[in-house]
Symmetry: C3
Subunit: 366 residues, 3 copies
């Protein structure tokens, strides 16, 4: 387990819970012998945490590990606490996994607060850029003309914000992010390194008057609009629209190396895992999940609450909530060879079966 | 619709058409009451354009939208104009989609012309680099020794050009592009942010004298050659050759997050959509199209005018023009489970069908 | 063939072999008329090499090309030399492909030695960073607080090393690499441009107290540990662990655009081709190879010496060494349409076959 804080910086458990963003989440401490509660230097799994860490039980299958857990406290549900009937320090809470998330956030924000602040001398900031209070801009950033950056946002080293782009308040752009001109990003967004927002969508018109097969570029005059509380992973790309905007809703979470093509629309709170590609003009509903390496064709629509399995190619619209899958099962290579050969003969195999059925029926003495 | 120009900067329609690069494309205006033609501040779809925009009809299915269209002018074919029999301002043209592309280009180039010019103070340019007239180099660029940059090319912020690389004239490299040493790029190329040209191809020789399973790196001493009028999308990577060069032909268009491995050759005017991977030493003909997330094995050849569907794995050479596909159709998860289980038994199923056929024939009284 | 060295810089073949890192590899020269051996300016294939190059025969199928080869010397096995019975200059060696790799390395290292050294004026290096002897740091790099860089490592332009990260000795980080805080990288590692090491893993807890469908970020407090002799391709991303570290073993080779999710573990000497995605908490054994565009589900385990074919989705653990495959074979589009339609009816087709078999058995007069 990484030690996240030195002993002198570590808060007591009570203080940690007070400071964490637990709005709307009820919890109570139990099993503590005395005040003050122990100081907490980090967070860890049940088996790896020591007496300076807090741990949590979110997967019911691990309940027996709580008995061996050396953590200063374990976050668990009232049910689990009762089942275990253990006299050890705990935080009883209806949503232990969420509570863990909020405590881990506290540790990470503590780290962020210790980073250098202000606008670094080597950053190139256009005079027309509007930089709100509390903004940090790292070394070698480039902030072009008429950019707006909202209060307390942090822009990592080497990041480039194109002309007229707008970043909301309390955003965290890590090192080496690129935002093209005219892109709009909401509040509390996190963009990871290498992400590129607003590059040109892929659009070309055949230009036969130039040469056989030649293409004329369709300049992409739309842009990208990103809501609040969006996270965008490392090396993910979101292209600008051809005429209108590409739109990412509130609370959308995108993992690494995702490709969002021009004029795509993604609904609020949809979460997409790494290596997914979404072709142009496709729209995705709210609260969908798309697992890794899935791909969506262009110009289709996914309803709200649709869940796509990993590696699946979605080639037509989906109107009903539910889970959808389409990966070819793997096998030991030689066995796969034998079966794969038949895939190319399936229509023929069905015909043969039909012929057998007909024959059988015609022979049928009944 | 984004307003692309302020009213005082907007050209009249006639002037816009004169200034756009319409060489070889015939057109005529019709339905305008008076001179001068209206000023045009942007371009949009039929339903979203207002009286300051020009619109276009390229998809015949949308012909009825022209009646409701409020745009200053609609670009359409002579046939469509006749069919509609509308008395409204139009631009009659054999290729409306191409005309739209060229007008959108004009707007984008107007924006580019307004960007800062010259070599920024913070750019690090080697004394031996040869920079032609009219070149712009953005903040925090690094131009290494003996680089050549052709006239009027624009190098975005934070871009790195490795030693001895050559960039042609009228190129646009967006922010944060990386070009490794000795790479050659033609004229009028566009490279998007995060693209990496000339990283080492993936080559290793088993080195059993070091350790079981160890690999010795095969240094990649070839390079990359890119023709004229090539566009390369965000975070696309093109690796340098092992001994000879990786070669990208003229007019090739590559979308985002494409991987072109070492010693690949791509023929003129081939267009490749996002997330495609092309393994080493494969060659692709001219005027091919490869849809998103397809993957090509190494050491194979695709003829001219081959079209690959999205998500398809091409594992052997294709000698004939045509369209090729190979994605497993998706389904509701439970239904997929039932069918997927049978995929692993196809060879057996074929055998069983064959046995039934034999039996039937032997029983056959005829 | 690229000319790698000017005539005055080129070593004799004997000197080249002496200087290359051939430890543990036996070889002998034969067929040279006189001393000194010829000077070598580069390395090439059998058909493209001229009298200033050295070439090699590693693929037995190309043995006839040796007769036409104009290279100053050909590296080949004793068997091949005997079979050919040619009186021409050769380097006889048990592992010609490995010897080629080592000579190509020598040429590349010669090029690297000619690059500028030292810490560039525009690099921003925190006073608390510990930079060993012989380290080069390129223009516009950012080296944050408490970073350690081992001796003779080379950091390319625009690279960012986050606080407390550690880079070993003799590493080569190309331009525009991003290493997040607290990441540890071993000795002799090569990281290509656009790679991002240590971005946040993709972890969220449902936060229904906020809004239906909302997610709370699970801050990723683990990090990334990378062994010695690891190569990481362009735009590849390796995420930091949620609580514990993501771990990459010694000698691992990763191609471009690979995604390694949080808490993945990759064993020593495993090599992974481009565009592979590995989901969270999966562990991969030693000496595995994973071909391009394969994808591995999360929370599974691959044994040592497992080989995965390109494009294959691995959705469950593999306990036995061997080769595993699962791509749907492609076909001409219309033919594919006919067969793909049957895939969705396979369970039904099997049922029909079973019914025929039953019927046949019940009718069977035997």
């Amino acid at each position: 387990v990484p030690v996240l804080l030195s002993a002198d910086q570590a808060p007591t458990l009570s203080s940690l819970l007070d400071q964490a963003n637990t709005v709307g989440l009820e919890y109570k401490l139990a099993g503590f012998d005395k005040e003050p509660t122990p100081t907490i230097r980090g967070i860890g799994s049940l088996l790896s945490s020591g007496p300076s860490e807090v741990s949590f039980l979110s997967n019911p299958k691990l309940i027996d590990q709580v008995r061996q857990c050396r953590a200063a406290a374990v976050i668990l549900t009232a049910d689990a606490y009762e089942t275990l009937a253990l006299d050890r320090p705990v935080v009883v809470c209806g949503h232990p996994y969420l509570m863990y998330a909020l405590l881990a956030q506290w540790f990470d924000q503590h780290r962020l607060r210790s980073l250098p602040k202000g606008i670094h001398d080597t950053a190139v900031v256009a005079p027309s850029a509007v930089i709100a209070e509390g903004v940090s801009i790292g070394p070698h950033c480039v902030i072009e003309s008429h950019v707006h950056i909202g209060s307390d946002s942090r822009i990592g080293p080497g990041t480039v914000l194109g002309a007229n782009s707008r970043i909301g308040a309390d955003c965290l752009l890590h090192a080496r992010v690129t935002v093209y001109h005219d892109v709009r990003i909401g509040n509390r967004c996190i963009l990871h390194s290498g992400s590129v927002i607003g590059a040109d969508g892929f659009g070309f018109a055949p230009a036969p008057q130039q040469e056989q097969g030649a293409w004329a570029k369709i300049a992409q005059v739309g842009s990208v609009e990103i809501g609040d509380d969006v996270e965008i992973g490392a090396n993910t790309t979101i292209d600008r629209g051809a005429l209108e905007n590409t739109v990412i809703g509130h609370g959308v979470k995108l993992d690494n190396q995702i490709m969002v093509a021009h004029n795509v629309r993604i609904g609020d709170h949809t979460a997409i895992a790494a290596c997914v590609g979404i072709a142009g003009s496709t729209s995705i509903g709210r609260r969908c999940t798309i697992a890794g390496a899935a791909m969506l064709s262009g110009h289709i629509h996914l309803a709200d609450d649709v869940h796509i399995s990993g590696g699946t190619a979605i080639t037509s619209s989906i109107d009903e909530p539910g889970r959808y899958t389409g990966v070819y099962p793997f096998a030991e290579h030689k066995q796969w060879q034998r079966n794969a050969a038949v895939v190319g003969q399936l229509a023929q195999l069905r015909r043969r079966t039909r012929a057998l059925e007909k024959h059988e029926n015609s022979d049928d003495p009944v």
